[in-house]
Symmetry: C2
Subunit: 349 residues, 2 copies
DNA sequence: CTGAAAGCGCTAACAT
DNA sequence: ATGTTAGCGCTTTCAG
């Protein structure tokens, strides 16, 4: 039942009646191998249950067969699990492509601020990583980016604030999505729409711009009082909620920079005993798990995190396998709206 | 600024004026090396920025320096991101220990049901993995467990339903935590307490038992009508909520098998315009991110997922480094209560 | 305590 | 189209 004997390429060669080189060629799908020998080798591989040893291949050819996923340094320090869903989506998206292409996905967490760069370089060497997926907010660390560039380590930035600092990047096209969602509110009759959320990351900036653009296109003013640019978490939402819903002329709808903020606004609305969504419409962003578990369930916009990570890996592998020239295109992925129960026409005046 | 030359153990040896063997010994902290030579070698390593190549070490010694984390096959297929937080906690917990001990953490996702086992065996060989962290619910797959055992692949089961099928395991001590929480409700004056949630996984079973035990200890009956054993997600909570809150004699408190279910119950309570928590207390389990973003914020019990994963990795590494005998103890980790705003004394009769 | 020789399993570079 | 010869960078013998 068990095959404890280590079976190497030599055993396969013997079994198939060819030289190890021929086996090696079949393994790597090299063109010039006779059809029959090829068959024989494949058969032998199957019968013996042979699996080539990656370490040996790496050692001999030094072609990377693993890519790293860089986790934010703070990951795991957050007591409220902020960003945990985002990370899993990243992991899963990257993993799918890696497994498909036979690469290993190695998780790497940035350590002490200063050492990150050298740690990474060491890892790349020691584990022979082909490159890194670098998700925001690490994309905003010039030190990191420079170190990677200086050591010629390929990386793809996921959702960077500026797209000119990385040769390879993937981002989501958030602005038009928020613009469309805001227009939707306007078409429903809303005239006093507020925006809640942060503005530092790419996410915050693009989303706010979309909100403003929709107003401009509809020739509607956007009042500063309806802009509450607080933090990016639930607490920020609480804060924005209290500020916005405490206004004399309360907005009839709030566009939030993400679902957590939206949940905070919702909580304040509940505190104030507002009837939802009749007295207040709220929209989020991310299409997080949370968005369907709030009450009312949030109308939101899907952020294709897994798809971004997958694309980043594809870029990396493409670059590696084409021998350095960045073939794979950078990409801007669309964000689709998800309509649930937190939006309604404004109350009649 | 750059050091493009590949520096190997030979360069280090030359620089330090010793043989490569001595360098190798220093690298592995072997005892018999003269203090001065040791110093010289370390200095040379530092100056040259030398990092040993893991592939070469693996090839020469076949001592695993990577461990695999097995992801559920369904991961990523879930549109509502169920379990995403759980996965990140797992990843982060495992990663922490791995990095500390200089192991790589390799993510592995089970593919097509049948092939999982052989895929894993192949991976272990090709990537020289030292073992697997196998989180529930994969822990309940006899095929998988047998395959691992048959091929003598070490693994540690995280939160298995039965602890007798894996030599190494880690679980959380959920029962006493729920028991204490339920007793807390009883002490607050609640006499009509319901339980909502699933019963198949370890989680469901243990949590329900804790609930029952608290009633027994307080000499209180537990009515079948107050037991709503639906699914494990938000929808299950919705279902349980409707069943429970639709009862003629409505419960004054609901203990939920997890936070998602609790959120569902909360949603139904909102639909029914109940004043929370005055008219209904709700407690969850998991201390998920969601639990502080619902309204009211959930009183819940923390599930130490990251700690479990970390412990599982420690067990694995311990076993590996001790040469096969499972030194590391299996572990039952405590679950701590987190009090928030969803619990109050029952309304006066 | 230290070093020389041999080889881990594979592939690149040459043959043929 | 196939085989031969050398290593890849390290560690394991085994001698000093």
């Amino acid at each position: 039942m068990n095959k404890p004997e280590k079976i190497t390429i030599r055993e396969v060669a013997a079994r198939a009646g060819v030289s190890v080189m021929t086996v090696s060629r079949v393994l790597r799908n090299e063109p010039y191998v006779a059809e029959d020998k090829c068959q024989a080798v494949r058969a032998a591989i199957k019968e013996l249950g042979y699996v080539p040893l990656q370490s040996a291949r790496n050692l001999a050819s030094s072609v990377p067969k693993a890519i790293g996923l860089l986790l934010p340094r703070e990951a795991g320090d957050m007591s409220d699990k902020t960003g945990y869903e985002y990370l899993t989506a990243l992991h899963l998206g990257a993993l799918g492509v890696c497994q498909e292409r036979n690469y290993a996905l190695v998780l790497v967490k940035g350590q002490s601020e200063r050492r990150v760069a050298e740690d990474l370089v060491g890892l790349v060497r020691s584990r022979q990583l082909g490159g890194f997926v670098v998700p925001a907010p690490a994309t905003e660390s010039p030190g990191l980016l420079n170190a990677l560039a200086r050591h010629a380590i390929p990386f793809s930035a996921v959702s960077p604030l500026r797209t000119d600092r990385a040769p390879l990047w993937v981002a989501a096209d958030e602005r038009p999505a928020v613009r469309a969602m805001t227009r939707h509110l306007i078409e429903l009759g809303h005239r006093h729409i507020a925006f809640a959320g942060g503005g530092s990351a790419r996410a915050g900036f693009e989303r706010l711009e979309g909100f403003k653009e929709a107003h401009q296109l509809a020739h509607l003013p956007v009042s500063d009082r309806y802009l509450s640019l607080t933090g990016f978490g639930f607490d920020g939402g609480l804060e924005s909620g209290r500020a916005l819903l405490g206004l004399a002329k309360r907005p009839t709808a709030v566009v939030c920079a993400n679902d957590d903020i939206a949940a905070g606004v919702l909580a304040v609305a509940h505190e104030k005993q507002l009837v939802l969504p009749a007295q207040l419409s709220v929209v989020g962003f991310d299409n997080s798990g949370l968005s369907r578990k709030t009450w009312p369930a949030l109308t939101t916009i899907d952020l294709p995190v897994a798809a971004m990570a997958a694309q980043a890996v594809r870029q990396l592998i493409g670059t590696l396998e084409s021998g350095g020239e960045a073939v794979a295109a950078t990409a801007l992925l669309p964000c689709l709206p998800t309509f649930r129960d937190s939006v309604a026409p404004p109350p009649r005046a």
